[in-house]
Symmetry: C2
Subunit: 254 residues, 2 copies
């Protein structure tokens, strides 16, 4: 009989943000297929006897092309073994999980999807930048900003709307173009914006600035990928909300 | 000393989709403040000795107005007890968590946000409708469709874009208007669309139809809230992906 393939969201980085279901599957799996966007803390939960198959460096720069990843998952399942296909964030949000699942279903392989905390939600929580807020944004749009042939082709009129938060995954390489085009399409240059590197991990770096100065500030600060871009009035809440009084985390009081 | 308030995402309904951090906080909490969008399965994890404070019926129809919820959280923390403020989905995505956290920080109360699987990600995974997909949608927009004074005021031009998935939370009461306005603003009437009731729970109902027929179909099927609306070409993948071969879930094979 075929093994089953679980497309599992590894969340934004912090292993404490795995779902109960994902944590169980990861710790019990005998075969794990993973790529670079899966955090080290998550990989540390894997059973030491598990076979680990690495299939990628980063988005757009896979060690294995996507069609070969799809074929690999089918082949592994056909040997009768269950497979945990681990993806950073959520498998169905910029994770190409849909393509993998299509191939699995067409090949008759049992499969299931376990959602994960997408980077935007994880980073929103730990930086104090709500994705929506009555006074700032009534909608939020997620897109990707891959640089391709030196440019990035996004639906700029849809992104440069008022009362909306814009979240751009994998857009750091195109940050100059992104900020310039948003402004060219009507977004005010003084709109608050942020770049967050390695969100939710202990290497997290948050930089905020006006959208018309963001690219220069990020260059000066030498912020690298992986990074998430957030643009919109909600970013202005970061100053207050990141100042929440802290306390030792040993136990709940009460 | 002040207690600490944890704004905790309870996820889309299935308790197995809680994060590790959320599950720990919920099971250890002595005081929980919650509303109706938190699933029964999640509430079943609460310690039996915990004090449970119910503050709402559903979005837009709170047992306590938002400013009184904010004040209640501050008052509880000032008694020195830790509080888990449990919200359906993610606290910073249509959860008004930002407003609660502003009040807490301004009052000097230690607080922290624990992200949750937002309904769209949970439902996407368990219905086989990826939120993004190379051949269907390169971005996804989330908004809410509350009916107010008999109408719903959304940014229709931003929603009626090509190659985009639209997810509308709490929009069932305005479904007629939503579908009509999307089409009036240029979305083709044959765009695939879905309404999912009680997503990720064992009461889940999924209905798909063209956007120009969706409202009538939902009326005939008598689908009630809570429900999520998804509009876009990705919905067409539901037919294939929801047919994934299944298998008993007793253990991982291999």
């Amino acid at each position: 009989a075929h093994g089953k393939v679980y497309l599992v969201g590894a969340g934004p980085g912090d292993p404490d943000l795995l779902t109960l279901k994902a944590a169980r599957l990861i710790s019990e799996a005998k075969v794990i297929v993973y790529d670079n966007l899966v955090g080290d803390g998550v990989l540390a939960l894997v059973n030491r006897s598990a076979r680990m198959i690495y299939v990628g460096k980063e988005a757009g720069n896979h060690a294995l092309p996507q069609d070969q990843i799809n074929a690999l998952l089918v082949q592994l399942a056909q040997t009768g073994v269950d497979v945990v296909r681990l993806k950073g964030g959520d498998p169905f949000m910029f994770g190409r999980g849909g393509e993998e699942m299509e191939e699995l279903v067409r090949s008759g392989v049992p499969c299931d999807v376990v959602p994960g905390i997408t980077a935007a939600c994880g980073i929103s929580a730990c930086t104090g930048m709500p994705l929506t807020h009555r006074e700032h944004a009534r909608s939020v749009i997620f897109t990707t900003g891959h640089l391709k042939d030196g440019t990035v082709n996004l639906d700029w009129p849809a992104l440069a709307r008022p009362q909306q938060t814009v979240v751009i995954y994998m857009g750091l390489g195109a940050l100059d173009i992104i900020c310039r085009e948003l402004i060219a399409h009507g977004l005010p240059g003084d709109t608050p914006a942020a770049v967050v590197h390695a969100g939710t991990t202990n290497r997290q770096v948050t930089l905020t600035d006006r959208v018309d100065r963001l690219a220069a500030s990020v260059r000066r600060a030498e912020i690298k990928s992986p990074a998430l871009i957030m643009v919109g009035s909600v970013v202005s809440l970061h100053e207050l909300l990141s100042q929440a009084p802290q306390r030792d985390e040993l136990a709940l009081a009460g």
